[in-house]
Symmetry: C2
Subunit: 188 residues, 2 copies
DNA sequence: CAAAGTGATGTCTCACTGTGCCATCACCCA
DNA sequence: TGGGTGATGGCACAGTGAGACATCACTTTG
């Protein structure tokens, strides 16, 4: 808990999103973000390890949460079903609590560096899912494949959810994304 | 063509791979690489845009080559078949000409920054494949899905090929990777 | 209520990345 | 022999990220 001004991290996220939108990611320095948030550059780096991470602060919590949901799935459930169910639960919560998801997505899409970081977060989800499946007893190769496919489905579902303006339920987006991949792999 | 010493780019790649292996990516500076290659830091940046790219110089040519192979596939061929065939052709050439693929892979796996860049190259392959499929008449969503799955297959096949010591043919690795994904998606 | 402790912040410094600008040097050609 | 061309070196600069230390607010303990 911050003692001087409890909202520092939130102010930094807000300032960064604003500045990135106004001037573009490349034209913004960490000093700019810190100044708008009312702190110094050095303090910024005590909240976020680098310039990109200010846009991905909460992303780190997704992978462990989904992995935990997979681990606690009913023992008889199939791998893919367990993973998709976990993604639906956590993803629904995520979509209901996300702040300015469309604006955030637009900023990320405008910068290769930020897209690179986003892919890293998705890879972390894949690794966490694989690990969770392995601890459920699934063989390594199969666990990795399921985790990769599920991560793909999740990313596509999230993109679709944003494109639809957040009106649709996340579960429906997940179903759509899953079906699209099924068709693609079935057409040999 | 370089006039002073034609092998500069190759010397830089070799020096970088050696240094990254010896000291680890984080402990190596661009100055170190340049000095071992017999040039200055400034000249390094005339060959590669940043510190990471020295390990990914040829990767840029993969995506266009595969895309071209997809575009020139027989009109009646199914999307997935056309893409997998293109990946087999280009991938086989790649595996037969790669230098120190195992050492390179080991270095990349040892550094999150390098893994990040590798995922970017894979994403470029996905985009190129999607574009090629779209120009063949495939619908957007389907083209993206096929491209994503094929990229996944390619990456897994390449990893397996390295793990097997380069002894197996790349086509077999592609088949294995495809089957693994099929099983994963089929188990509902 | 005073003194010590704790945690967040500011200040200063430094190595390194990546780039712009200009000088230099070797080689080719007229 | 002199000029053009292309690769390289040298220099300066903004920006990133981190270490070390001081400072200040607030809490805890006597």
């Amino acid at each position: 808990m911050a003692r001087w001004d409890p909202g520092t991290e939130e102010r930094l996220r807000k300032a960064a999103l604003e500045l990135f939108t106004e001037r573009g990611y490349d034209q913004v320095t960490v000093t700019h973000i810190a100044e708008r948030a009312g702190i110094t550059r050095r303090t910024y780096f005590r909240y976020f390890p680098d310039k990109r991470e200010v846009l991905f602060a909460h992303s780190d919590e997704l992978a462990p949460a989904v992995a935990e949901a997979v681990r606690s799935a009913a023992p008889g459930t199939g791998d893919m079903a367990a993973v998709l169910n976990a993604l639906a639960t956590v993803g629904t919560y995520l979509t209901e609590h996300a702040k300015d998801p469309a604006q955030r997505q637009a900023v990320i899409r405008s910068s290769p560096e930020l897209e690179e970081r986003e892919r890293t977060k998705l890879a972390a989800l894949t690794d966490a899912l694989q690990s969770a499946l392995t601890s459920r007893g699934t063989a390594n190769a199969q666990a990795r494949a399921v985790a990769q496919l599920a991560s793909l489905v999740f990313a596509n579902a999230f993109t679709q959810w944003i494109e639809l303006g957040g009106a649709t339920g996340f579960r429906d987006c997940l179903r759509n994304a899953t079906n699209t991949l099924r068709e693609a792999l079935a057409t040999d």
